[in-house]
């Protein structure tokens, strides 16, 4: 966007303001059955820019999913503030945020179409408009011919596409993905990654991805936050510098290997530390 076209200072500030900002965010879980409190995360300072593809990698148990739940508004932070579009997130999922979970969250008793329509039940759109919207998302996700199938009739990858479609139909400005391809084989993961990149370009939303897979993070993201072992904090944010138009063939790029290697260099000690702690 040409900033010169924005008329006043306030408009420019709004445009440049981060979509999500975390300030000194900390999460401590209370003690369970006489144990000690668990300091899971933070303090974390982080800004997500509008329209970027941002990934978080880190060793197991470093608090990635906790960070995800805090930004999604599914859990409150113990300390610090989290804001989405300037408004604080206080333990409720804000409008404009769509969430895709690691686990299959399709409702098995609803058809693919009915699963996607779930996201629109509060929209009060006329039936025809609602149908058109669902039809568009079905088409975008290449699910049109499976609209009347039940999730049990689909593969794991397709079920995850249904979950993404259910999120997209709500037209979120921020899409949170919590290891959505973890249960898929490597080839399907790469292809799903391509699809997510295609959708990201098509809808222009910001994507926040939690992943274990360094190659997935390196292929998909504009920026990657590398987290330390628990209590998780951000060690470094790596800028990939990829063009917006990209797909899995970026793996052949000369810069891909060094980017993934750099991520691993940052993570190796932390992973060993996390393993020792277990």
């Amino acid at each position: 966007m040409d900033l010169g076209r924005l008329k006043n200072k306030q408009q420019k500030e709004t445009f440049l303001a981060p979509l999500v900002s975390l300030r000194q965010v900390k999460k401590v879980f209370p003690p369970v059955r006489g144990g000690n409190p668990v300091h899971a995360l933070g303090p974390i300072d982080l800004d997500l820019r509008a329209g970027e593809f941002f990934a978080v990698v880190g060793p197991s148990g470093c608090g990635k999913s906790t960070l995800f739940e805090l930004i999604a508004g599914l859990a409150p932070a113990t300390e610090g503030t989290i804001a989405f579009e300037g408004k604080p997130i206080a333990g409720n999922v804000p409008d404009g945020i769509g969430v895709v979970f690691q686990e299959d969250s399709c409702l098995p008793w609803r058809t693919v179409r009915a699963n996607i329509e779930l996201g629109l039940r509060k929209s009060r759109l006329p039936a025809a408009e609602r149908d058109a919207k669902v039809g568009k998302v079905l088409e975008l996700m290449n699910l049109t011919e499976f609209a009347s199938h039940y999730p049990a009739q689909l593969s794991g990858g397709m079920r995850q596409r249904v979950c993404i479609a259910r999120t997209l139909v709500m037209e979120p400005r921020l899409i949170l993905l919590d290891e959505p391809f973890a249960a898929l084989d490597q080839q399907t993961r790469l292809l799903m990654g391509e699809e997510v990149l295609r959708l990201w370009r098509a809808i222009g939303a910001t994507v926040f991805l939690i992943t274990h897979a360094l190659d997935e993070a390196a292929m998909l993201s504009d920026r990657i936050a590398v987290m330390s072992a628990r209590p998780g904090h951000i060690l470094e944010i790596v800028e990939t510098g990829w063009p917006r138009e990209r797909d899995s063939r970026i793996l052949e790029d000369d810069r891909f290997g060094p980017t993934a290697a750099h991520l691993w260099r940052l993570l190796r000690n932390e992973t060993l530390r996390a393993a020792d702690a277990r």
Binding site: G98, E103, L118, K122, A152
Partner: protein, 254 residues
């Protein structure tokens, strides 16, 4: 033979063998006619009794009581289980009650129910309800335990209130288990209602059975027994098919 038909045909064969053995035992007078009519005679009596319409009133009466008892067991059971599921300490307290419920002969309370409710329809309905309700509660709790955590998170992401969460997520997710409870509730309700009518009521299939039994009227008693068995098996089969359909739809059964 297609695998699909093998099991039903096997069931029919076992039934036919059982009936055949009874027929032979009756024909050889090993079972005397005062004890039991031969199966072919029971069948003819059954056709005659149903065609005469002599017990239509009793059938409707018992059916009405069973439906009311069952509906109460389902409504109260599902609601109560949903509340108990939200309060783990209450569940811990009640678990013992649920697990020992069927060790208590509920029919023993029948005289007390007559004192409280009189000789009308209420005592059989209450017995039928008490027989069925705990099966629904236990199955519903089992179903609620099995609702995946991710679906509860989904309800928050979709900004559902408690009612929407119950109607759109938890109840449908628990449906196959609720159906298992419903199957048991129907069977227990039929047993409770018919047994109560048998003991003291003045109407219904149970009363007709008792009357025929006391008057050595085998031509009436056995057809009524057959009617109760056929009805129970039919209802159970329909629910079983529905349950199987739900499980297949969810990929939980091939």
């Amino acid at each position: 033979m297609r695998a699909k038909w093998r099991i039903p045909l096997l069931r029919l064969l076992i039934l036919a063998i059982g009936v055949g053995v009874l027929e032979v035992l009756c024909a050889l007078d090993i079972i005397d006619r005062l004890t039991m009519q031969p199966p072919h005679q029971i069948f003819l009596d059954f056709i005659h009794l149903m065609a005469s319409g002599a017990i239509n009133q009793a059938i409707l009466h018992t059916l009405k009581n069973v439906v009311i008892a069952c509906a109460m067991a389902l409504i109260v059971g599902i609601t109560f289980a949903s509340i108990v599921h939200l309060i783990p300490p209450l569940r811990e307290v009640l678990d013992l009650v649920f697990s020992t419920w069927y060790a208590v002969p509920i029919l023993a309370f029948y005289p007390l129910l007559i004192v409280v409710f009189g000789l009308g329809d209420l005592p059989p309905i209450v017995i039928g309800f008490l027989q069925g309700v705990v099966a629904v509660i236990v199955s519903m709790l089992d179903g609620l335990d099995r609702v995946p955590r991710v679906l509860r998170k989904l309800s928050r992401v979709q900004k559902m209130n408690r009612l929407e969460t119950a109607l759109l997520i938890t109840l449908p997710a628990a449906a196959p288990w609720v159906l298992t409870g419903a199957k048991l509730a129907i069977m227990f309700s039929i047993i409770g209602v018919v047994a109560s009518e048998f003991l003291m009521a003045r109407e219904g299939l149970g009363y007709e059975l008792s009357y025929a039994y006391n008057n050595f009227d085998n031509a009436r008693m056995y057809p009524i027994i057959v009617l109760v068995i056929v009805f129970s098996v039919l209802v159970n089969s329909l629910l079983f098919r529905w349950e199987a359909h739900l499980l297949r739809q969810r990929g939980l059964r091939s």
